[in-house]
């Protein structure tokens, strides 16, 4: 029997309770198990346009709760999917085949903080920005800062190996996770990795981070904390030609400077944001780079000066260095409110996520503009230029006939030109459902079989978030269903 077929027998019914729900209510408090149709439907999707199908939603409050749910899932042969805040953009938390949704949102305690050794244990539902705010008085922070950091959870960051503007110098989530306590797909509980730097055996911690919920459910996370920098300089540089700005990124890195962040916004984005927050952005220019360097005073001053020199050779227009914290916050607000600002242009958007080698940025950006123009779409670019992580934003009005198809076609082309330029499918959003069937662009059948082997070692029954990441059914006997909203 396929996963789908098994699950159909446990679909939430409007009248009466399914045996699955009854069993879950016997192992949790009844109010932790919700099967009302309207409530369950809220959990059919994440922040992508993809829609799946859940049979029941469980609100776990402890490792024991998660373990109990996973054991019931095994007993009934029903898939389950862990869910943090549901801010994922690739459909990673979209329930497939009538899965049990395991919400970790109520597991939101910071368990311990060691400011000397810069380690904290947190529950997976702790929100990313809440963690850094709660420990700010200790002079430390959690470095990964996705644009959704006000609402995304640490558990979700672990599942997606999330990035963010400040991951350029300090690395993405995997570099900031020491250990994960996980409920494995068979219901056993173990700690992967550890506070110790070189635990014996395979790096199961490293394997779990970024496994998109397919290797089990994180129930506690040991994170690395970073010292807050003593000095910060935030620069805004603008260019009449996008290519000059993009080239400067490579110039800076080749010169031996790795800034804390290097973000690019193109003209359409600058204009949308300026209309929104009035920060005095250079709206007449083709593009701007937001660059932040951090550290001790002499290093920061030297890097600011050197970046200014290098920018001069790339025909920089204005160089604005934030004079104080207020101006710095305003410039970052401009970057981080881009997604809110675009609502002023069109009601809908599709945000893409690919990475190309830095030196290919000018060429690939040009192709992105060409693709959008050919499909008669508006595209804004606001992205992590420092690590070549493109985020083309296609804006549209879904009520316009045929536009959704054009958005999907353009998105597919953007992914393909990125990979063809020596890039990869995703820099930080993950594969999920969105790019599952594009994996063969990067990996051979042999490569994918090895990934499926790893999946099977963790989850022989393929109950943990099935249907994601791997394009072929990975020997699980399930047949991929195509979710609503899919474009691949």
């Amino acid at each position: 029997m396929t996963v789908d077929a098994v699950a159909r027998s446990h679909v939430a019914a409007p009248h009466g309770t399914t045996p699955l729900v009854a069993r879950l209510r016997s192992v949790l408090r009844p109010d932790q198990v919700r099967d009302g149709v309207s409530e369950v439907n809220l959990y059919r999707h994440d922040a992508s346009n993809l829609v799946g199908h859940a049979s029941v939603v469980c609100f776990a409050e402890s490792t024991d709760d998660v373990r109990a749910i996973v054991l019931v899932a095994n007993e009934f042969g029903v898939p389950f999917v862990a869910r943090g805040s549901g801010t994922g953009l690739a459909g990673g938390a979209v329930p497939m085949g009538g899965a049990i949704v395991v919400s970790t949102a109520k597991m939101n305690r910071i368990l311990s903080v060691d400011p000397v050794n810069r380690v904290a244990w947190v529950e997976p539902g702790v929100l990313n920005l809440d963690l850094s705010k709660q420990i700010a008085h200790l002079g430390v922070h959690f470095a990964p800062d996705p644009s959704s950091q006000q609402t995304c959870s640490i558990g979700g960051n672990v599942a997606n190996n999330s990035g963010g503007p400040h991951c350029l110098a300090d690395g993405v989530t995997s570099a900031h996770i020491h250990a994960v306590e996980a409920v494995l797909p068979d219901g056993s509980v173990t700690v992967l990795g550890g506070e110790e730097p070189e635990p014996a055996g395979y790096d199961l911690r490293g394997v779990f981070v970024g496994s998109e919920g397919m290797f089990g459910v994180a129930t506690k996370v040991c994170v690395k904390l970073m010292a807050n920098p003593p000095g910060v300089a935030t620069m805004l540089l603008d260019f009449a030609d996008v290519a000059d700005g993009a080239q400067l990124v490579s110039d800076i890195i080749a010169d031996g400077i790795v800034p804390a962040a290097v973000e690019m916004m193109d003209q359409l984005c600058l204009r949308a944001v300026e209309a929104f927050i009035h920060a005095g952005l250079p709206v007449e220019q083709a593009a701007a780079l937001l660059i932040e360097v951090v550290g001790l005073p002499a290093a920061v001053a030297a890097q600011v000066e050197r970046i200014g020199e290098l920018a001069g050779r790339r025909n920089v227009g204005g160089v604005r260095v934030a004079a104080d914290d207020a101006e710095r916050a305003l410039l970052w607000k401009g970057r981080k409110s881009a997604f809110g600002a675009i609502a002023r242009i069109k009601p809908n958007y599709y945000l893409h996520d690919t990475v190309v080698p830095r030196h290919k940025l000018p060429e690939v950006l040009e192709q992105v503009y060409e693709i959008a123009a050919r499909h008669e779409l508006l595209v804004l670019n606001v992205f992590h230029a420092g690590d070549g992580n493109l985020h083309p934003l296609l804006v549209y009005d879904a009520r316009e006939p045929g536009v959704v198809e054009r958005v999907h076609a353009a998105g597919d082309e953007i992914v393909r030109v990125s990979v063809a330029a020596g890039g990869v499918l995703s820099g930080e959003h993950g594969i999920g459902l969105e790019k599952r069937d594009l994996m063969p662009l990067m990996f051979s059948e042999i490569d994918l079989a090895a990934q499926a082997d790893l999946r099977r070692a963790f989850d022989p029954r393929c109950l943990s978030n099935p249907d994601k990441v791997l394009p072929s059914p990975a020997g699980c006997g399930d047949i991929h269903s195509i979710p609503e909203g899919a474009w691949v």
Partner: protein, 295 residues
Amino acid sequence: MSLDDAIGAFAAQVGPNGPVTITGLGTRGGPVVGVRTVRAPSGIEWIQPAEMTIRCGAGTPVADVDAALAEHGQCVVIADFGTIGGALAVGHSDVRRLSWGPVRDTVLQLRYVSAAGEVVKAGGPTVKNVSGFDLCRLMVGSRGTLGFLADVILRTRPRPTHEQWYSSRRDPWALLGELYRPTSVLWDGTTSWVLLDGHPDDLRGQAAGSELVAVDTPPDLPPHRWSVAPSTLTELRDEPAGTFVAEIGVGIVHRSRPAPPAEPDPETVELHRRIRDEFDPAGRLNPGLDVLAVT
């Protein structure tokens, strides 16, 4: 022969059958004794300074990579002895880990020859990538029990233009707290050693503020590594000074005697068994080597 051709030849040598082991320069333990031995391709394929990446055969000596990158003002975060493949297969970080991070974060893409004798690619060539499961981190530290590394693309970092070791009699945890991102803090129970890199004015400022005295070299490290939670290093205060050198903030203790065997929980043992069964069902790669038992 191109690197790709060399990888093909390497895969043919590994083949699909029979016990086989691998060696590099033998500086990190060498091959399994009494088993047919192969060597990975060596040589630097390219360096892309503006990408901060390098591609090389796994058999390339770390010293060759270091020398080639030095010409571009860059380096890799790998202790400078033996081969790249050996360093990654063992997965031990060097004393700069406190600031520079662990070896496992260095690998962007790798190819390995599987137990079936096939070439498998993991990861991707860019500095940021979350496409698919992280087989790169699985391979780092797996000691050739899941596949033999053939070639890698590594992340490089700027080579420090100014770097200085200092010593101090002050408490190492006080130094860890007050210095901004020291590259290394070592302690033998009496003396602390600190490595700083960065702008020379900042080095002078930090050294003066923390009463550090410049020294030529760090202490000699005893040969055995113990891996412990960094918060437990304070227990070393009860041990005789001079019998260890501890990496403060990291949790590696260098000692003259080997660490006791790890005591993994049954779930961890079972996961290791299942992973090895999936990747090498016949147990032909580095036969007899138990990754949970080696220290």
